[in-house]
Structures are given as C-alpha cells and as structure tokens.
C-alpha cells in the first residue's frame, strides 16, 4: 500500500485476450511474418490489451448505484462489463501496490 498525501492508492492491471476459440487475425498475421522472417519455432501468436487502473481506496465504496464494493469486486465488474466483451474476450486481473 502506498500513500499519496493521506490517500491509499493501488493499481490494477487488466489483461484482455480474445477467447481461444475466436480467430485472432492480428495474431495470425504476426505469426506469418515471424515465420517468413525465419522464426520457424514460433507456433502461435495471440494479441491482446493491457490496461492499468489506478484506484483510490478511500472513495472505493462510493459507487454510482450506492453499492458497496471491495476493490476486487469493482475491478472484476469493470473488466467484465466494460474493458472486455464476454462474447469474444476473457480477462485476467492483477492487483499491486502503487509504485
């Protein structure tokens, strides 16, 4: 936990990837370039997004709907509802003390 003045700040890192069963056209294109560049041992490439959220724990509980969240619940909801589209993507969350 780190402090900015009196505030408690944490960081959440959200990784969003296309689901395995969804064709990743970008990954396929990069794979074909790697192969034509001689890197024949590369068998697959998947491309995703990496998103950093900086969270102020002091105002965490004051959500718009007046719902009480833990930070983990809030990040989970943000990731599932907005940062990823559950029809085609999956996400992974990592929470760290702010550096």
């Amino acid at each position: 936990m780190s402090y900015e003045g009196e505030k408690m700040i944490k960081k959440a890192f959200v990784k969003v990837m296309l689901k395995e069963e969804v064709l990743d056209s970008q990954g396929k294109a990069v794979l074909s370039v790697l192969k034509s560049s001689g890197y024949n041992n590369v068998k697959d490439v998947r491309i995703g997004k990496y998103i950093e959220l900086t969270i102020d724990l002091d105002i965490l509980n004051k959500s718009a709907e007046g719902k009480t969240y833990t930070m983990e619940e809030e990040i989970e909801e943000i990731s599932g509802k907005i940062l990823s589209n559950p029809l085609i993507e999956e996400f992974n969350i990592e929470i760290k003390n702010k550096k």
Binding site: L18, V22, L23, S25, Q26, A29, K49, I82, L83, N85, L87, I88
Partner: protein, 238 residues
C-alpha cells in the same frame, strides 16, 4: 400522413461521421421531420420519434472496442427504454457495433479477417420482408450498397446462431451478384456471411453496409433507399 409528419431522430456521438448523410437522406430526399439527438441528452417522451437511427462513424475513436464506449453513453439508457416500448431503431455500421455492445442485438464484431479497412460496394441478399426495415423489399432481392469498416467480422457463439435460425433474425447476407452467399463475396469474414440482423421483437436492426450512401441515383445505387422507404411505409401503415 405526409412524410413530414414522420419524426426521425439521429443520435450523435463524438466521432459519429455519417450523421449528416443520414440527415440529408431522411430530411432532404424523403422529406421526414428529422432532428439530431446529442449523446448526452435524454429522450423524455418516447413519442418524440417514430424511429431512431444510430449512424456510422468512429464513436470515441473506436477506442477499447468499436462501439464499446458509445454503448455506455447516457443516450443509450433512453434508447433501451425506447426499444423496450417497441420503438424502431436502425443501427448502421458503427451504429450496428454500438447496438451489439449495448446488448440490444446479440453477437460481437471482430476485426475484418483481411485486417484491412474494407471500402467497396457489396451485394446483399434480403432474407426477410416482413419487418419494418424491409417491408418494401421483396424477399430474395439483391441490393447493392457500399461498406466502409475495419471491424465488421460478425461473430456469435453457437447458441446465438441457433436462436437466430429458430427466430429468423438474420436479415441480410453478403452474396455474389447472383445472390449466393459465397466465401468470395464475404468482405470481412462474417460468420455465415451475416451483414445484418434484426432483434427478437423485430424493432431493432443493425447492418454494416451504408444505405444512406446509396439512396439516390447520383450515388450510383438507390438500393439503400428501400430500407428507408420500408420504414416510412411501415410507420404510415401503423
């Protein structure tokens, strides 16, 4: 009812860029009473509009995912109420992507399998003519309209497609000039050549091609105009 008694609304998000084109077609070509709806506004009276168009463009610069940020905008709450009350909504291109992201239509858009921005005329096979959007078009007709998109590769899980087949939700398929939905005629890799779908209550439709760019002779095709003519016919017949 004169055409000018029909009230059409066009939503405007930061980055919408087909809003003027849709306005021109509805207001100037078809003579409708047309107005813009800013994305921060609310629709207080559902009777203010006979139908609403979500136009194409790059709302919020396509950040995160095409349509994702616009789909969470203030106006979408009103549009969800409007839709639940049977209101007619047409989403074109980015408007289609917004409807998908908002959950008003099922499925999602992936990047075109060509990885290119595809900008060309395509042929569409009309699979349904008993909807507000196609009631002035004969089933089986082939329409020519332009597409212009990077993320138009329609994707849906197996259960959604099963529901589509059961409920008849696929309304347009990319096809060749003879009406066959071939692989070569599919410009973006869309599942089953899907170019447009309609919601379960048949009041919400999304399509990737641009009917507003093919609504008068000058533009090389008037085929897109049949979609607007259908909506007008449907509203007049209500």
């Amino acid at each position: 009812m004169n055409n000018n008694r029909i009230k059409a609304g066009i939503t405007v998000f930061p980055g919408s860029n087909c809003d003027f084109d849709v306005y021109y077609v509805l207001n100037d070509i078809f003579g409708l009473n047309t107005s813009y709806i800013w994305h921060k506004d609310k629709i207080n009276d559902m009777r203010s509009y006979d139908f609403i168009v979500i136009p194409g463009g790059f709302s919020y610069g396509d950040y995160l995912r095409s349509g994702a940020l616009a789909a969470r905008g203030l106006i979408m709450e009103s549009l969800k109420d409007y839709a639940a009350n049977g209101g007619i909504i047409l989403g074109i291109c980015n408007g289609f992507q917004i409807l998908l992201e908002a959950g008003l239509l099922a499925g999602a858009m992936l990047t075109n399998n060509s990885l290119r921005f595809e900008c060309k005329d395509v042929y569409l096979n009309v699979l349904k003519d008993d909807t507000p959007f196609t009631c002035d078009i004969k089933k089986g007709s082939i329409l020519r309209m332009p597409i212009a998109h990077h993320d138009g590769n329609y994707f849906a899980a197996h259960d959604i497609i099963q529901d589509f087949n059961k409920n008849d939700n696929i309304i347009f398929k990319y096809c060749d000039s003879a009406g066959e939905p071939t692989e070569d005629s599919n410009p973006n890799g869309s599942l089953l050549n899907i170019a447009g779908i309609i919601g379960e209550n048949f009041n919400i439709m999304g399509l990737m091609p641009h009917p507003e760019r093919s609504s008068e002779k000058l533009m090389g095709s008037e085929d897109g105009g049949y979609i607007f003519k259908s909506i007008i016919k449907y509203i007049k017949g209500k």
